[in-house]
Symmetry: C2
DNA sequence: TTAGTTAGTTCAGCGCACTTACTTATCGCT
DNA sequence: AGCGATAAGTAAGTGCGCTGAACTAACTAA
């Protein structure tokens, strides 16, 4: 599943080695410590090769020997090796909030070691880039280990090279954010849309399976990210997941985007708050009404992609309850059992950290081949 | 784009060789004949390696030397090598029609060399499998070259192993079609849903670009297939593209699936025909009304996936015209410019052959790594 | 004729993972 | 306590696939 139809480029022996290294790291990452022999069995590589690769990774400090396991069986007891989750740290940024930029130092297990944030105060364009740089330097000073790289979840449309094509709030158009940060800090930098980093975070550190995953982020706006067949979906122009301005109600409110009845006009956090707080409004019923509308938008997507999970991320007091239930129900009413039986609709357990943690996953995947 | 986040398995040197072979074949397949030196430049491999690989492929008969090109430049004139499109043939089957099973002998360039079909006459279960086997033997006898493999576009849900999970018309449930045919004919067999083979056919032999592609097949039922990031989308349970029973109109007609207002109740070929032929009906207006409904279903999908192309496949007299125009218009009305500007909505030029040709692409991709 | 350019081949060498053979370490049985 | 069985890990040698450098072949330009 997900194997590209066409070969993508030349393949060196060096690539094979990196690939195998990543394979072992991945195993340790997902299933915890194991002996060299276990790794050999799991990967299909020989014990010899595994020993060699493990030796290399020990030298790099990426893994550590943990001694023999407690229970003993026949034969020589194995020496467990485990991922050294604090051997390196990763800097993850979340630029999706309108009033602040937040970031964190994250270890290889996705756990946040330190946080920092700066106020945007209307900074735009180059000034906003400078602010990002400031935030990174602060975080770098806070990191107590070598930094593996910088991951950024940015609002707007971001291309695969890490250039922000268009982010209205920060007045970024074709801003080569990754290149700028890479130059300033001499570290690998990976930038993606905030909903895309969120889906990566959920995919790797949430409780999600291996089927198709969609994360819907509800904040000031609405955006989504998809992991399909184990890969992040970018879309033709890098704009996959931009569903905030799909029309849900031709007779609805006028939207900032100049059209009417966009999803954002009913689903964004501020709109939802206003709606439930309106005089004489029945909160739960209002939320359910929005959930139903959301379900109508999601139903075609669920059927088309045969998704495994949909995760809502945002203010739990608004999303988790009547809104989610109504969306779930509507999706099931509007799709075939084959599409909906394998589907789970839930909220995220990662909370506000999805984006920074997902940004760290960008680096983990890019640098170590792990996710 | 589309690179899997996680490594997929052990990688042998042998795999690298196959990969590089495929890389060269792919180059010849897409851009036509080239010299060894051209191939080396395009692939990044050295001339030495390319010569070696080309030698191997010459021995296999997959490519042929074509002599020097007409125009002459400085230096030793190159010897062009080109894909030998008639060195092998592929058997492609289309089982999606209710009354017949059709198949074709296809060459490596996707051009149909011979056809054959058999009537279903209500055959079901094992009897239907026997009919497929009969069709294959006929086609095999018609093939004048070694057969590279058998590709099948089957109705219903098909898993990656080529087992038909569920195909009501043929009464197949968990029928291991690929395994049965592989055993009977001792050839590689690849089976996929008919909409999925159709999208492969369109992706490889249509005039489509490299962005996300959706093919919507309208026949007795409605189904879709997606190529995203260069890979066929399977979905969690292999049911991606099953959008025929998405509800479009809660007040609509009762559907065979026991729910109401499914897309198939307005969009299938028989329904469309009945609708335009109804006494007093305004044909074009009716078709446009259906197109609008279709656009409403597609809009969320377009926005979510940032598709590059949507191709409608089916009876042109129904689809190409008011229906397509209305769908196109509705999609644009209901999505942001960023989602819709890069999008083209059109009908297929491959006609009824999309499925068989796409089935051949399954084999091309699986056996030669070409698409 | 001579120099320059491009295509394609030959050859030695390198990196990687494999196989085979060995050492080390523990358990269960006599 | 001693011995065979079992398993983990190490060492040495083999084969495969790619590469760089050097070489031959064939042509153009001056």
């Amino acid at each position: 599943m997900g194997r590209p139809l066409r070969p993508r480029g030349k393949l060196l022996q060096e690539d094979a080695r990196r690939h195998h290294r990543a394979l072992l790291l991945q195993q340790l990452f997902r299933d915890g410590p194991a002996s060299r022999a276990d790794l050999a069995r799991a990967s299909g590589l020989t014990r010899v090769t595994v020993s060699d690769l493990v030796g290399e990774m020990l030298a790099d400090g990426l893994v550590t020997e943990l001694g023999a396991p407690a229970e003993s069986r026949v034969g020589k007891p194995p020496t467990l090796v485990g991922l050294a989750v604090d051997s390196h740290h990763i800097i993850g940024l979340d630029l999706s909030e309108t009033d602040r930029m937040s970031g964190a130092v994250v270890n290889l297990a996705g756990s946040v070691q330190a946080r920092h944030e700066v106020h945007v105060d209307g900074a735009q364009g180059d000034e906003a880039v400078a602010l990002v740089q400031h935030l990174v330097s602060e975080l770098r000073a806070m990191a107590e280990r070598p930094v593996l790289g910088i991951g950024v979840g940015s609002p707007g449309v971001v291309d695969t090279a890490g250039t922000v094509i268009d982010a209205p709030n920060l007045a970024w158009t074709d801003t080569p954010l990754a290149a700028r940060l890479a130059e300033a800090f001499d570290l690998p930098v990976l930038v993606a849309n905030d909903a895309n980093t969120a889906v990566l975070g959920e995919h790797t550190f949430g409780e999600s399976g291996d089927g198709g995953l969609m994360v819907l982020r509800v904040g000031t706006g609405v955006g989504a990210g998809f992991v399909l067949g184990g890969s992040l979906l970018h879309g033709h122009l890098g704009a996959a997941g931009e569903i905030g301005h799909v029309a849900v109600d031709p007779d609805g409110e006028r939207c900032a985007c100049s059209r009417t009845g966009c999803l954002e006009t009913i689903l964004s956090a501020p709109r939802l708050r206003r709606r439930v707080a309106a005089p004489g409004a029945d909160g739960p019923a209002e939320l359910a009404a929005v959930g139903t509308r959301l379900g109508e938008v999601l139903a075609p997507i669920v059927a088309a992609l045969n998704l495994h999970e949909i995760v809502l991320s945002g203010p739990a007091e608004l999303l988790d309850g009547p809104l989610l239930d109504a969306a779930d129900r509507t999706i099931r009413e509007r799709t075939m059992p084959i599409s909906s039986t394998g589907l789970a609709v839930r909220t995220s357990k990662l909370g506000e950290d999805v984006v920074v943690v997902g940004a760290a996953v960008l680096v983990l995947a890019g640098e170590l081949g792990v996710s």
